[in-house]
Symmetry: C5
């Protein structure tokens, strides 16, 4: 899908996708012209970018064919900016980063992306509906785009934060493979996010500080503002990484503790019953003839008394010994 | 709550919250005017900041709507400084960081925060009560604010230090999930603290070194002093992090040791009793008829003698073998 | 094998390996002369490099005798560039890095390598077949070479990525030594790769930014493009490292969980059967004469009833106690 | 305790603690005046530092009231230098760092510390006894002080090194909680040390490189020398950290190995005796009447022969099976 | 041992250890004079260095009394260079670093070391035997020295590499304390090596880049060459560190896996035999009178049939249950 918006002095002008219409818009140095390519195959975009906008073939190849970390390339008449939009499905544990290629000229903005980006759609509509945006130049569209992209990043980070906390709590009550798998997925998502945020921050830093002719010097403070947000986001993402690392440490600690608990029980039971089972086995050899029959004569038989004494003494002795070693709690 | 203080040549002038009163105070270039917004909704603050102080909309949005890591933004007539105040409840293991937004002009200071900050209240009272503070200009208020904020950070760090030491000691005597959970909470609090201290230090470094028109060059050494404290605090916080990391290592070591101890006991008991239980079971099959009855003839029976010899020899043998392997201590 | 290509104004000129032929090609400042040494012993290459090309002995020693991390050395008339080509056999888990030595002069390019490099062969053929490449100068050959080398690196990284994911999945279902050995091999391959990518990136950065007389200023954007790819590759390789580190953490978590599971079963069985085995052993001592014979009188005998009660109560009691401790799931 | 030394042209002049005596010494620009405050309360030191030496209140507060990491502050007429002296009791595992505050002027040196510092006493005596030191200016006292402080650091590091090696060796022979606790104490001491050495090094670097009017340019090579020692000390301390980290890894490895050993034995015993105990139990049920009595008829009874065969075969089978799995060594 | 070499225009001149002989050599600005002190006590070296060569006392103290990380100190007339020579005994697992102190003047080179250094001896002989070396100035001796030192480092690293691989392989087949101790020794050796290589690289970097009057500008490319080797060595040493760290991870993984294996067997055996042993014990109480005698009546007795059924069913049931849980492989 290719769509265009063209404003003159703040009013939306009728445009078509015809080359002549593009030429008119481009030649109006005081206007604002925004072309958005969404999911178009390279064959469709390439002629327009090359012939109408006269972008450098390398820049076009960057935008259409290749994947990049966010960056700013300064070409003579325009900036090529690669950005990342986030598409985070918390249920699926999947974090998708969509590359958004932006060409920023004096009076036009070209955006290219393979998948729909909600943040971009929000900005598109804002420009269509509210006139107040349309008077600040195309660099203001770029500012609004980056600002909206960040909003989505923020939401993803908040969801991640909650999920990590949830996994950690569940590990304390029930440490199993499912939690570990979840924790590893969250770890990978967090790392993915951090690796995107870091160059994004660098891009905004450049837009806020460097002297690009396409960006009005007075508008830099807006990019500075987005940059400050990215600094904070990066900071939070760092915290998430530590948090998720802590989850794995927690898991190992909890499971070791549990193992310890189980082994203590096993040892307790074994230590209590093995000796008295041996005593029973010893007297079970019947070297000593049972003197009486029936239940009446229990206390008469010396072998029986000896056996009972051994069993009781062993049990009590083992119990006291284990309590002294601190295994009873 | 909105409150104001206005000094002229060191004496407290009567003021009201009326806009005219604000205008009078602001136009007195030799005076000191301090306005504090505490827990006020944005709707109340925004008109004052925008219309009376004429702050830039972006700076106001930073102060009223958003959360930031500590930073200094230089605007033409004033500085916008975001700081963190600490609110640490050691019992709850909760560390709360309150954002304190400061606007510093030539002759005024505006502070904005959502929750009460004890450090700010202390400074507020000091200015109300002691005249000697009132002669040094509004940058001196900022210095006193940062200095008092640091005092609270220091207290929090000391409490943290004690708690970590306590947890570590308890782990050596009784390693359980409660200690681990406590340790992880402390770890998170320490990380939280470090992430706040680091940009705070940077802010003070800027105030101490950069040439801001709002800060008297001779006063920079005071900010330098606060900066030195923050360097030390950051240093201690680094130590805390290592300490808390050591707690988790300790835990794993202690619990592994304990497990080892338990398993050794289990193996000891099993190794001693399994063979002799088998001997008892072997002779318990009664293939050999008991020759005598009663207890008198114990030593007569060759099968009985053989059995006793086997049991004693096995026990002694196992015992010696285990001692040689170093399992007896 | 020594092979040469010599273009004049884009057309392939006949050349031989004779020294005179070399001289002719070298003295044609507007031509493009490419000599490729593949697997030639130093004795064959050295005289040509020294006498015909007049390279510095140290540069020749670097190229012929020694192994290097990728680097660029600027000599007066030419650049010496050491690059790495990758030769990755995924089945064997072996990553082979082949050193490719390049001498870039104004109108010639000398490449030297011990083993065949597919990327180089592809470029060689492209120049032989397609005239359009032949007009851009020898620095364009270098660009195409680096670009093709990167393609192979990319393929290797994709294969690695898949294998790591596969190992991780297999660890969740069947954690054994074979998976661990595989994971360690992948880890070593990843580290190997990263240590090669990092200086490669530096080399391309230099070619893209520094002012070398051998490289046309307008061609630097091409090297910049390769550099951007390398930045992304390095980024992905970082991700691989984290991924492979996560595999080992996963392994430890899974195996600890499994151990926990096994131990719980062991403890369960032991805890259930040890007490009732003791009861059976106790009554097996035959202190109480069996009153009746046959199976009819089961419920008559008080000792028998007592024994059955003990066994059932112990089993049920143990079962309930273990369920309360959460060992039953 | 306050003590003073005052040299004129290398000869020790009589001085008292009277203010006039101080004034005389301070006004002698060619002299060397050293005042040492040891363990004096702030009330005693403050008036002297403020009124006689005219130090800035902030610098005095730094010296008297606060704790700092080593640093150099340049004031107009003097340097304020915070250093650390070490007081290491190897038996107690306690490392004490004493802050040494130094004010260095053109012709005077003021030192302030709460506890006695042996290194300082050594320098004090050297100046009292040997004339040759007294001709090089007060910056030479500072050099000797730093040099002696380093000597004590070096000794502490050597003791630490030995102790760590000792703990590691003991862990291989007897891994228990005491060794772990010792290792963690050593780790904390090492970290403590490193955190002091790093800023100390920075201080000496500044003294060796920066252009302070209080330090003779020709004397900087002496500070450079101390700096080189500190570089090496820091290097060794890094090594200690790795060593102590290795101790904990060793512990975990050794204890895991030991656990493995114990479990193997337990499994061996269980695997050997459980099956044959079952065989004994099976025939112990006396379903088969013992045919003969006494020991003579062992080999006659078919049930007995069967039982013996089962026991022997099971034992041998289990033994062979375990040996094939590599559990026998 | 003190030995000297003195060349004039490439020919070896007769020299003695007499001071006059030294003076002659030193005053010949076009000559090359090399003095080597090996294992000489400071008392012997100090007068020569101080009086004949007129080195600064601090530089002499550095060379004779102290240990240093490699460094370059520039004094007015000469360079003081501290280098490390390696002495690696692979069998003993001991890595010895010998400090080599070098003074490089315009026309002389002084080397000082406590122990024999093979690399130095090789260079000494090369100069005595081959005239071609003698024409390039004393900085060429320094180049050859550094080059030969690196050769020994390279050999040590290759041996280390092989040993680490060997230990890792042995850990997969037989993980025991001996391998762990070996791995820790290798780890320490690797760390030791890395800490030496890093400043060595820095020294060579300085020699290759800085403008020292003692080093001919055209000879810097030789030091650059040695520097490139050191970069690669450092790179390999980094790889070794990762490798040796991986060995310890491998160990923990393998031993955990082994433990898992052992515990599974233990649980298997226990789970199979405990229930059937109880069944045997139950019927061993002889509440049911054996009806028949001899082996003929096995199948007649209902109690016997019940017992056999229970034993077989329990065994099969347990076996199936365990196979379903995946414990059988």
């Amino acid at each position: 899908m290719i769509r265009v918006q063209y404003f003159q002095n703040g009013s939306l002008m009728p445009t078509s996708l015809e080359p002549e219409s593009f030429q008119t818009a481009l030649s109006d140095t005081g206007g604002m012209f925004w072309v958005d390519f969404q999911g178009e195959p390279p064959e469709t975009c390439e002629p327009i970018l090359l012939d109408t906008f006269k972008f450098h073939p390398l820049a076009i190849e960057d935008a259409l064919h290749q994947t990049h970390v966010p960056k700013v390339d300064e070409w003579e008449q325009y900036l090529y900016i690669a950005l990342h939009a986030i598409n985070f499905e918390p249920e699926a544990g999947e974090l998708e980063l969509i590359e958004l290629d932006v060409f920023l000229g004096e009076n036009y903005l070209v955006t290219h992306h393979d998948l729909p980006i909600l943040a971009l759609d929000r900005v598109w509509q804002a420009f269509q509906m509210e006139e107040r945006h349309r008077r600040s130049g195309v660099d203001h569209i770029l500012y609004m785009l980056t600002d909206e992209l960040i909003v989505d990043f923020m939401r993803a980070i908040e969801v991640l934060d909650e999920e990590i906390e949830e996994v950690e709590n569940r590990i304390f009550t029930k440490p199993d493979n499912a939690q570990i798998q979840k924790a590893f997925t969250l770890k990978r998502v967090t790392m993915h996010l951090r690796r995107s945020l870091s160059p994004m921050r660098e891009v905004l830093n450049k837009l806020a500080r460097d002297d690009y002719s396409q960006i009005d010097a007075r508008d830099r403070i807006y990019f500075r503002d987005v940059y400050d947000h990215l600094v904070r986001l990066h900071d939070i993402a760092e915290g998430l990484r530590d948090l998720v690392g802590g989850v794995l440490d927690t898991y190992l600690s909890v499971i070791n503790n549990r193992m310890n608990d189980i082994m203590r029980t096993l040892t307790l039971i074994t230590t209590l019953f093995m000796p008295i089972s041996f005593v029973a086995g010893f007297f079970g050899m019947n070297f000593f003839q049972p003197v009486s029959s029936g239940l009446k004569t229990w206390t008469d038989n010396p072998a029986f008394i000896l056996m009972m004494a051994l069993i009781v003494l062993t049990s009590v002795g083992m119990f006291l010994w284990m309590r002294r070693r601190g295994w009873m709690q």
